[in-house]
């Protein structure tokens, strides 16, 4: 039996209707663009390639490894796929994966599907991809740099996606900022480590056996901008409750509806114990602040690197 194992699937009922609609619109806009890009970049090979890769992500999630105390880690996969196929094909692949999980396996809602794909595919994969390409560019051209890039990219991809999920739940009035955020981020700081380890090991294996598959793909500049845009948007949402001494909407909603610990982690994720979020929230606030710092700095860095490095499109790398 195939067990869908991605964390973070928001079920129907947990997102408000306006939030769901925004998610769908965002998802459709990005998907339409991604489909056009894959047509350009992969040609007629794209359908069998992306279809098989979507099935691959499903099957790869079954490969788990014991972590500790009877729990096991497994792959989420968006970063890995984006490193192999480029960000646009990754978006189509993850759309298929998350969509089939929702329809055939009832993992994640139908109305919540828009944001589920945006979180687990678009945000996760684009952040991972952007960090990977950026780090491999600025670090010395060695294998280790590639691993470092893939590892940090994979870890951040999971963490940033969890932040996005938490924020959608907060905006929907389904949970309170200071409960869901530490819970989600706390759990995914750890899940991200598993993701990073497997991603790096996979990259290392492919590097050893089929290094040709790890060549840089065709120009994907737009993807970086979307990733940076998402990161800046997330950071802004983060900063706003602290900047405003009289937080209105969110707080009120939170008071009316109360908190739900929506740490979206079904029993099969790495550390179910951590889904109960009553851990000193001061510590988490600091950690979260640190993460935001990292994200803001890296996004600024990315922006600068991009502006400084406007070189012509090199389209000699025709993907297979």
């Amino acid at each position: 039996m195939i067990t869908p194992v991605l964390a973070m699937h928001i079920p129907d009922g947990f997102l408000s209707i306006p939030v769901s609609v925004v998610g769908w619109l965002l998802f459709i806009a990005i998907l339409v663009y991604a489909l056009r890009q894959t047509r350009k970049q992969l040609g007629e090979h794209r359908i069998p390639l992306m279809g098989i890769m979507a099935a691959f992500v499903f099957a790869a999630q079954m490969l788990n490894f014991p972590v500790a105390g009877g729990t096991s880690g497994h792959l989420l996969g968006a970063t890995l796929v984006s490193i192999f196929l480029g960000p646009w094909a990754m978006i189509v692949v993850m759309t298929c994966v998350v969509g089939v999980q929702a329809v055939l396996f009832q993992d994640g809602g139908i109305l919540a599907l828009g944001f589920n794909i945006v979180n687990m595919g678009v945000i996760s994969g684009l952040v991972g991809y952007t960090v990977y390409t950026w780090l491999t560019k600025i670090l010395p051209r060695t294998t280790v740099s590639q691993w470092v890039g893939a590892g940090i990219g994979a870890w951040l991809s999971v963490v940033v996606a969890s932040i996005a999920t938490a924020l959608q739940l907060v905006v929907s009035g389904t949970s309170a900022f200071d409960v869901v955020l530490p819970a989600m981020v706390g759990v995914h700081l750890l899940i991200g480590i598993g993701e990073a380890l497997i991603t790096v090991a996979t990259i290392a294996f492919v590097h050893q056996t089929r290094p040709d598959l790890l060549q840089a793909r065709a120009d994907n500049r737009g993807a970086r901008w979307i990733a940076v845009g998402f990161i800046i948007a997330l950071s802004l949402v983060f900063v706003s409750p602290w900047a405003n001494p009289n937080p209105d909407g969110l707080e009120r909603v939170a008071e009316d509806y109360g908190f739900i610990d929506t740490a979206q982690d079904p029993a099969y994720t790495i550390l179910p114990d951590y889904t109960v979020p009553f851990i000193e929230s001061d510590i988490f606030t600091t950690i979260v602040a640190g993460i935001i710092g990292v994200i803001v700095v890296s996004s600024l860095g990315l922006g600068v690197a991009y502006v400084a490095k406007r070189k012509p499109i090199s389209s000699d790398q025709t993907p297979v």
């Binding site: 079920p11 009922g13 947990f14 279809g51 290392a204 079904p266």
Partner: protein, 254 residues
């Protein structure tokens, strides 16, 4: 586990997949827009879904059970009971449960449960490939639908591939009494990564073979597609009935 190829033939099984998809989406939307504290709505909605289930020759009881099993986050949402402000109504093990927390928790769980039953009704009465044809008929991108088709066709083959890899690992992971098996966490992650990489290469090479086979059979970048027959008025009317019932429920309970 899944009714991948539904065999029972009922009114709902025969209904046009385009109509079914739209109706399912509308019903889910209807469930989710139920305003807070309108408890009367939920039994009515459930009755509606149960009727649809009976027409589809499915057991409404089993359907509800299955939708319930698919709700692992219910346990997670439990904490809501204790963390909400409100008038205390009962005590469980020394913890006070406020009315608003209980209400909100129940609403979310019931809505999720009902919405999941709609999805189950759709997938249990529709072959996945028909569903994809329906989506294509509704104007969803050809590339996306074709990709989903390929994915679905090879999902179980790659699942088997994955199981072979796990079996191979298991058969080489001996454990002798008194000694713990396996290496460090890093080592285990490396092995798993190697397996994922192996699976990736097998999948990638398979996609190349599939592509070549497709070209050999005359593939020119366009996926052949058998369009669905034009929509029958009867199907549209049948699809509208549950939507109208849902609309009436929403009006009556407000």
């Amino acid at each position: 586990m899944l009714h991948l190829h539904p065999t029972r033939v009922s009114l709902l099984h025969r209904l046009d997949p385009r109509v079914k998809s739209v109706t399912a989406f509308a019903l889910i939307l209807g469930i989710l827009i139920t305003p807070p504290h309108t408890w009367r709505a939920y039994p009515l909605i459930w009755t509606l879904l149960a009727c649809v289930a009976v027409i589809s020759q499915l057991s409404a009881w089993k359907l509800g059970l299955q939708a319930g099993i698919a709700l692992p986050f219910t346990l997670v949402a439990m904490t809501l009971l204790f963390t909400t402000q409100g008038r205390p109504i009962m005590m469980i093990g020394g913890l006070v449960i406020p009315d608003s927390g209980l209400a909100r928790f129940l609403e979310i769980v019931i809505k999720s449960w009902l919405a999941m039953q709609v999805t189950l009704l759709l997938t249990k009465t529709t072959d996945f490939t028909d569903l994809l044809r329906g989506l294509r008929g509704l104007g969803i991108s050809e590339t996306l639908v074709a990709t989903l088709n390929v994915m679905y066709r090879y999902l179980f083959i790659l699942k088997d591939e994955s199981e072979r890899l796990i079996r191979a690992r298991a058969s080489r992971s001996g454990k002798s009494g008194g000694y713990s098996s396996g290496g460090t966490l890093l080592w285990r992650a490396k092995i798993t990564g190697g397996m994922v990489g192996n699976l990736f290469l097998r999948s990638y090479e398979r996609s190349e073979r599939i592509y070549m086979a497709m070209v050999a059979r005359g593939y020119d970048g366009r996926m052949p597609y058998t369009p669905l027959p034009p929509l029958k008025r009867r199907d549209v009317v049948l699809g509208l009935i549950p939507i109208i019932c849902m609309a009436m429920i929403q009006i009556v309970v407000r």
